[in-house]
Symmetry: C2
Subunit: 341 residues, 2 copies
């Protein structure tokens, strides 16, 4: 049993011989084609089981020119958002009978993204989903899309590349409006880095809500998504007694902000109201539990894969091929009306 080299795995011909049919009949059974007698089919299936035969996917791919594989290019799958999207994509892919091959980006620049897509192409993927929420990606995306069917998940809006995204502007709008509706005179903003589309969209929505309410528009503070940058922002906002409401572009920065406010003796939500963005799993146990905007990353992933599969199947996508998912406000304990209403 334990020879020097293992016995070669069985091939279709072996199955055919054992079942007493031709290789073609085995193929028919394998591909659920009609016109095979039930009894013959049973015999073939028995042979397959007996030999523990597995079709050789390379051979099949060679002739059908279909690898049954899709690629995912993603920037930092360690983050909650990308990780959840990837998860959604994988599930949807499995349901659609595709394998998924990943390629993560170590840095975010045109060359790196193009290279990742190219690697995937070398592997003969039939299509690619790109998760790259930075502004730089948009251009590269268009270029990459030339060689292979491609859709963006939460990526920049481009005429030619179909994509699925969550409406950042709308999310920021309801978050800011929520604070305004509570009676705050205005709302301060701790923004994400401006080379991220999400950060830009959220800032837009925030500004729009203020302008619609004819509220003054304070200077936004730029962070880098990290709790640490939120903390820094919090320290500077804490010293200004007129600040009663802050909209943070993500929950991590809100966490840092919360701590800075706490240390400065500004109570949340009694003295300052805070709203975040993302709804990461920990937010309900922040002190206080954070009111935030929930993005359904899993859904985003699933929908983007769906879009890709639809395109591969040939059904033309909608008008521009873009899908926009609206986010929801999750009200918890970190925002309430100001003292002096």
């Amino acid at each position: 049993m334990d020879r020097n080299s293992a016995p070669p795995p069985p091939v279709m011909a072996d199955v055919a011989r054992l079942a007493g049919v031709s290789h073609q009949t085995v193929s028919r059974v394998l591909n659920d084609q009609p016109n095979v007698r039930t009894e013959t089919r049973a015999r073939v299936l028995a042979a397959i089981r007996e030999l523990d035969y597995r079709p050789n996917s390379a051979a099949r791919t060679l002739v059908t020119r279909r690898s049954q594989t899709l690629g995912v290019v993603s920037f930092d799958t360690t983050l909650y958002g990308p990780a959840s999207m990837l998860y959604g994509i994988e599930q949807a892919a499995r349901d659609a009978d595709y394998f998924v091959s990943i390629s993560s980006l170590r840095a975010m620049d045109r060359a790196t993204l193009l290279d990742a897509v190219s690697r995937l192409r070398d592997q003969a993927v039939e299509g690619v989903v790109v998760i790259a929420p930075q502004t730089q990606a948009a251009g590269a995306l268009e270029q990459a899309a030339a060689g292979v069917p491609l859709v963006g998940a939460g990526c920049g809006v481009t005429e030619r590349v179909p994509m699925v995204a969550i409406d950042q502007r709308a999310g920021a709008l309801i978050a800011t409006r929520h604070l305004l509706d509570l009676g705050h005179r205005t709302v301060h903003h701790v923004a994400g880095p401006m080379n991220w589309l999400d950060a830009v969209g959220r800032m837009q929505g925030w500004r729009e809500a203020l302008e619609q309410a004819a509220a003054p528009v304070p200077l936004p503070i730029l962070g880098d998504w990290s709790a640490s940058s939120g903390y820094a922002a919090g320290r500077s906002l804490a010293v200004d007694p007129t600040v009663t409401a802050v909209f943070c572009a993500n929950d991590h920065m809100a966490l840092g902000l919360l701590r800075a406010l706490h240390e400065a003796g500004r109570r949340v939500p009694q003295d300052v109201s805070v709203v975040g963005f993302d709804d990461i799993p920990e937010t309900s146990y922040f002190m206080p539990p954070l009111t935030t905007v929930r993005q359904d990353f899993g859904e985003l992933g699933r929908r983007s894969l769906q879009l890709l599969v639809d395109r591969l199947a040939g059904s033309r996508p909608g008008p521009a091929g873009h899908v926009i998912i609206p986010p929801d406000l999750v009200v918890r304990g970190s925002a309430r009306p100001p003292h002096i209403a």
Copy 2:
């Protein structure tokens, strides 16, 4: 240019024709084989570029029987740990010139795991890394390993399946010892679900540290890793004034615990010291910043992939084929000596 069907992609013969050589010479160039004149090589490379030729990986795989693809089976890649491991795996795989194909587990049972591995096998992966930290996985792993080279990442210790893991026992030991050394009479424990190997290991380390110090061993409280369960544990611990130190089996539960203690008026670290486990990115902005045990998930992923590649290359792994990575204690502000020392 825009005909009904795209022109067929160029094949090796096309390159050969254009370069005025045989297909075999093209193959030699592609595979960096010696015995090709520099000038010939240049001509071939030029032809490749001109045609934008990409080798057909299926054809290559068919004849070499090497897919250059590795599979990763993982339980819930949404969690910080698995996500980071996956990231590390992908990077190491790319460095070793492999593609990685993923297959996530929707549920944790033998059949699901076996099915995921089987799917990957159908895709002709050369080897598989499994991320499945539950106790149930261990048995299934051994069975799955029969059909394909396989290594576990943070999985159950099995004689036959090589694996890489972080030493949970050691981590819990230093965490508990740290609290003991600060002068606490004993340390309470909020444990993870007992069907997780990590939870079992951490409880072991905790118990061992107490026993070594001849400290009383309180009844551990069982949680489910969630902040919510940590909160529940915190509420019950808060009413007991003798509790001065708590070791939480993960940071999320510590977050919930922190909040429960806060609400109950028990100050951390003045009244109660808390130590967590994992060192998720947010911990330094908990209130107070959490002292915790850091696990290098990325390294874990990289090492497990390395182990797999080494096995594929034929070099026998060490004695048992197991690699154990020690974790580190990260001291922040949530633990200090008790009041009445």
